[in-house]
Symmetry: C2
Amino acid sequence: MREGILRLGNEQLAEVGAPALSVREIARGLGVASSAIYRHVANRDELLTLLIVDAYGDLAKSALDEVDQGAPAGQQLAAIATGMRRWATANPARWALAYGSPVPGYSAPADQTNGPGTLVMTTFLRALSLGKFVRPASVPKASPSLRSELLAGAAEIGIDADPELGVTALGAWTGLIGLISAEVFQQLGAELASHGEELLERWIAETVARFDLS
Amino acid sequence: MREGILRLGNEQLAEVGAPALSVREIARGLGVASSAIYRHVANRDELLTLLIVDAYGDLAKSALDEVDQGAPAGQQLAAIATGMRRWATANPARWALAYGSPVPGYSAPADQTNGPGTLVMTTFLRALSLGKFVRPASVPKASPSLRSELLAGAAEIGIDADPELGVTALGAWTGLIGLISAEVFQQLGAELASHGEELLERWIAETVARFDLS
DNA sequence: TCATTTAGTGAGCACTGATCACAAAAGGAA
DNA sequence: TTCCTTTTGTGATCAGTGCTCACTAAATGA
């Protein structure tokens, strides 16, 4: 039953998107009264939360399983980025759920989404932390407050990295999400929609160069 | 009436978000029958389209009016980026509407959104085109197909830039959107939410350095 | 065997977007 | 002014939604 709800939920997500996802339609698909759904899921928001967690987990599985922990950091980075893109283009609605605009008034409970949600990010940051970042003289150092925040965060995920690299690595992470979202959401117009793969390859190459990976 | 619909629509957007925006609630706010709204707007989707166009226009006005066309490109870039961030944090729901996940099944008609929607981007790209980008040897050249696409796009907005710079500039644009979205949507956790300004300043400084602006 | 918990039912409530016949305004031409 | 036409607003109505609740059937376990 639970699996059926998730399965049909994901199907509807792909077909009509999160805003139009209907609890009743899921019940119809399962051949069951709509009220039966509420025995397993408190309400529509909780169902969406389950789908978000499921999406994070699936993305992590799909993007991380082919990352060779022993490979050079640059190859790890490339594997993560291409894995994320592949999953995102194959599952645009789920990508939107995970990395698109959240629904105001309801915030996905952090305790449920933090684990799988940050797994990909930590792997990404870990790979970048193996490189080195030379801060141009014109770029000011990070503030003490930000430095300590980054040190704490790095310790939490067990990496030992220069906060200066950390700031830039975080920017690379949000930049990657922005790039993939631009392709998935078609924000760059139809002309560039067909060049998503090359744009990502370019981004990977530039990032490898910037962080002196290989 | 039209203005009233847009005004209350934007209010609701801020209060409950796009998915929960209600035509009937707008009608109540205007003291009018709900069916009266449909004399001015074909349906809910068209109303959302109007709000998107309105958001793009407002963002462009807010982000671009303080850009000094005669100033050094680096200052222009900084003005655009900080202007975008200021508007986005002040209008998170409208930012989500413009740059967040689109609603599947209904694509905002391109003819209505293209103008204001690309205005900020073209100004951004124009500023970056004033710099120079040195492609690291490890980064392969853009494919002929992508090059021609970029040349056509650049000609369309009246800038004469090296396609190699163009690819990287596009990546910077999507990266900026990703960075601002990460702050607005709180994707980096509560700890970093309070450092949005510094993260953007850092991004600006690094981008200025990468494109050799000043 | 039998009490108790769990899972499913179907009627019902309050809400939504949208349509439609109708009526009241608002204009414009004679 | 009068009269016709177009525009704007009305209220009833329809199908659909999320969700609740009293009720029943099934499973569980002492």
